[in-house]
Structures are given as C-alpha cells and as structure tokens.
Symmetry: C2
Subunit: 211 residues, 2 copies
Amino acid sequence: MKDLPHKTIERLSQYRRALLLCLDKGKTHIYSHEIAKIQHITAVQVRRDLMLIGYTGTLRKGYNVKELIDLIGHIIDSEEGINVAIVGMGNLGRALINYFAGKRSKLKIVAGFDINPDKIGNIMSGVPCFSLDEMPEVIAARNIKVGIMTVPADFASDTANALVKAGIKGILNYTPKPVNVPKEVYLEEYDMITTLEKVAFYVKMQEEEES
Amino acid sequence: MKDLPHKTIERLSQYRRALLLCLDKGKTHIYSHEIAKIQHITAVQVRRDLMLIGYTGTLRKGYNVKELIDLIGHIIDSEEGINVAIVGMGNLGRALINYFAGKRSKLKIVAGFDINPDKIGNIMSGVPCFSLDEMPEVIAARNIKVGIMTVPADFASDTANALVKAGIKGILNYTPKPVNVPKEVYLEEYDMITTLEKVAFYVKMQEEEES
DNA sequence: GAAATTTTGTTAATATTTTAACATTGTTAA
DNA sequence: TTAACAATGTTAAAATATTAACAAAATTTC
Ligand SMILES: NC(=O)c1ccc[n+]([C@@H]2O[C@H](COP(=O)([O-])OP(=O)(O)OC[C@H]3O[C@@H](n4cnc5c(N)ncnc54)[C@H](O)[C@@H]3O)[C@@H](O)[C@H]2O)c1
Ligand SMILES: NC(=O)c1ccc[n+]([C@@H]2O[C@H](COP(=O)([O-])OP(=O)(O)OC[C@H]3O[C@@H](n4cnc5c(N)ncnc54)[C@H](O)[C@@H]3O)[C@@H](O)[C@H]2O)c1
C-alpha cells in the first residue's frame, strides 16, 4: 500500500466521502460509473484505483458500499486515529474547526494554539485554545501528529519551526507563504488564490477561444 | 499559451506570489534555484516552465523579478480583470472575503449572496451581500464570471445550478459535495478533508516504515 | 588570458498518470 | 438455450509531467 499513487490516495478519500453519502441514502451497491460520475472522472479510473487496493466488486452488481468504505478506511486511516492541532484560531482556523466538529472520523482536531491572550483558555466548538508556550507539552501529551497552519503569513515560518520542534509529523499550511521543514515531516501547502487564479485563467481562455 | 500544462499554470501563479514578496524586499533579480527552493520543486522545473512561457533570463544574473511578474500577469490574468462572486456568507465565505480584501489583483470579489435575511443588505469587508433572487441581475450587471461556493453541502447542487443559469463561466466549489455543471463551465472542487486525510496517510506510512 | 565556475535554455530520457482495449463472466431476454 | 448485454478486472498504450544531461555563455579566479 506504501506505493499507491499519490493521486489514488486523494481519490480514495473522495470515493469514501461519496460512498458515505450513498450509504446514508440506503444504497448497498454502487457501479464504478456511478462513482466516476460523482467525481467527474472515468469509470476506468475508478476500477483501476480499486484494483490497486485489491478490492473486487461483484460482476454486474457493482461494489458493496459498506465493504468498500471499510477497506478504504483500513488503507488510509491510522487504526488508532490521528490527532490534529490547529495553529491560529482566526477566521479560517475557526471555520475549519467548525467544519470538522460534526464529522466522525479518524482525524480529530484536539487542540488549538494562538498568540492572542483573549483566545487562550477558550473552547471553540469543543477545541481548547492554548498559548504558544504550551505547544510542546500539549502536542506530546495529546499525541498530536498533524498540524494545520492558519496564522498570518508573516508568522508562517516561525509556526512551522515551532511545530517541527514540538515533534509534529505532518503539516498542512494554509498560509500563502511556503515554509521549509525537514524532509521527514510531510508537508502539504494550499493556497486558495492559486486555485482561484487557475479557474480565472481557464475562463479567460475559453472566452478568447470564442471570440 | 492555450496549451500550457495545467500544473504549469498553477506554478506560475505561485511563482508570482513568491516574486511579489521578493520585490517587496527590494530584490531585482532571482535565480531559478531560489524560486525552486521557495516552492519545494527543482530549478529545472522552474526553468522549463519559464521556457514554456518564452521568458528569457540573464545568464548568470537570473531573472528580472519585475519583468517576470508582468509577464506572468499577461499570461494568466485577464486584461480587464475578472469579477468574482461568493455564495454563502458564513464562516468560510467571510474568511475568504477577508483574505481577498487586502490583495490587489485582477481578481475581485464584487458580490456575495446568502439566503439569510439578516445578512442580505450588509456589506462585509467591502463586499455587499445580496439575496438569491437578485443573483441573475447582479451577476449580469457586475459582469461576474466566477463563482465561489461556500454554502452548506445540502445546497451545493442548487447553488451550482443557479450560478450556471445566471451565466457564470467558472466555479470554485469549497463544499464537500461534488456538483455537476455543463462542460463549458470550468469547475474546480476542493475539499479540505481530502488534503488533511492525505497528510495523515503519509504520516501513518512513515510511522509504519519506522517500526 | 586561460581555466574553472555558475547559471541559463533546451533536448532527451524517465516516471507517473490516465485512457483505451479487451477478455471474462453473470444476467437478461429472445 | 443461446445470444446480447452490462459490468468487472487487467494488460497495454498514450498522454502528461518531471528529471537528467548537456551545450552555451557570462563571470570569476588563478
Ligand atoms: N481567510 C481565508 O479565507 C484564508 C484563505 C486562505 C488563506 N488564508 C490565510 O490563513 C491565515 C489566517 O487567515 P485568517 O483570515 O484566519 O486570519 P485571522 O487574522 O483572522 O487569524 C489569524 C489568527 O492567528 C493568530 N496568531 C497571530 N500570530 C500568531 C502566532 N505567531 N502564533 C499563533 N497564532 C497567531 C491571531 O491571533 C489570529 O487569531 C492567513 O495567513 C491567511 O493569509 C486565509
Ligand atoms: N468552514 C470550513 O473551514 C470549511 C472547510 C471546508 C469546507 N467547508 C464547507 O463550506 C461550506 C460553508 O461552510 P461554513 O463553515 O462557512 O458554513 P456556515 O454555515 O457558516 O455558512 C453557510 C452560509 O450559507 C448560507 N446559506 C445557506 N443556504 C444557502 C443557500 N441556499 N444559498 C445561499 N446561501 C446559503 C447560510 O446563511 C450561511 O451564511 C460548507 O459546505 C462546508 O462544508 C467549510
């Protein structure tokens, strides 16, 4: 499973989300082309991904929704679950905590950190907010493995360093400023502006094509 | 320029962001390996991307920061700029508006839409909030081309339909529910959970490797 | 002033990802 | 019963994306 393509990992997560919705609707089986339709990809790709994880559907009946959800969970989730911390309890930080609050999942946001004394000590949607000083202890004590960064861009690099020092293993950086971490820390960066600019680019292209 | 690789488009947007920071610091030239370092990619890739857009640096001096920013702008920006609307002025919607407020860019969020009467009529960080009924007129009148969706997941599909009907050309969907749009509308979907699950997966993998 | 160095630009090779092709096999229907 | 169909699973091919290799040229060093 170690060498599943990166893209397949992402899609498995998405398949599961779609499958959970199907389960809620009472669907017990699903065809590859149904999953594909939802995700805007081809049925071949779905079947190929499922082949890679060794799941076999029933010919002419499709895939068993429940089984597949479980299998994907076995592959991408860590058995004991993974605890997550969020640094920067501002607009985006709070929005994310809020968003995750309802979801039952192997991923739990168990701590927040902020520099603002007014926020420290508060509990937001069930997540307690700590001071930066407390970071090393809290991260160790709560067995936190992943950190989400939603601090102002100017503090991006400091925050990344602090997280690394505290022993975090993976970082998701929502700051528009790329950071550097040791290679043993898995880093994912996402900037909303890039995505928006990409959409705008293709819209522009289509317009130019038409004219 | 039409056939630039998708990945190159994304990177150009990111290069520009990095270059703008350099400009602020008073840097006039930059080497490919410096850009690469910031973006966690290789210098070859940077040079190749720049080759694709036909930009030529100065041997041994690197690239002219200002020129490159301008060129990237010419390629990915639309000359007149593109107006953007955001549907769903909740936590995430407001966070996004806030985030964009400061940035000078060819992309402007010029309208928000919500179903909540308490929000309609308000102005948030300079963006006026309209009712859903007003969507067709507002989108036409303000020449809005791109829509960002930050409504509750259950309304994702309705919102996409409404945006398409109102004549939008590109959609960026932050809802965890994939939507369907006609093929002439460019659609990009982003779910934060996918990214977080991916980070968690690689953290898990690394741990298993170590043990 | 020649050699070494550094950096760009480009072509070629490699790696990854997606798509196509098709064999296989239950199921439906004539 | 058998032909047509609709689905999966897999191998092969094509398309995309990244990396390596190296020539060319400006700069520095000896
Ligand atoms: N709001 C968005 O939609 C959005 C989108 C993309 C990216 N971002 C980025 O996410 C980050 C946060 O955005 P926001 O809108 O939530 O900003 P915000 O100002 O609302 O929140 C920032 C929070 O970080 C805290 N903080 C400041 N310095 C800190 C430090 N050194 N350590 C810990 N906490 C610290 C502040 O007290 C505040 O609570 C920014 O870098 C922004 O560019 C935001
Ligand atoms: N908060 C996050 O960090 C986060 C992250 C990823 C995805 N999301 C997704 O983004 C969406 C919004 O999240 P949020 O935290 O901002 O939720 P929210 O409840 O704070 O905001 C939703 C807003 O949409 C409005 N709304 C409801 N129905 C509408 C309709 N039919 N048309 C227009 N507006 C409508 C509500 O009045 C509210 O203002 C959700 O789908 C959520 O799953 C949120």
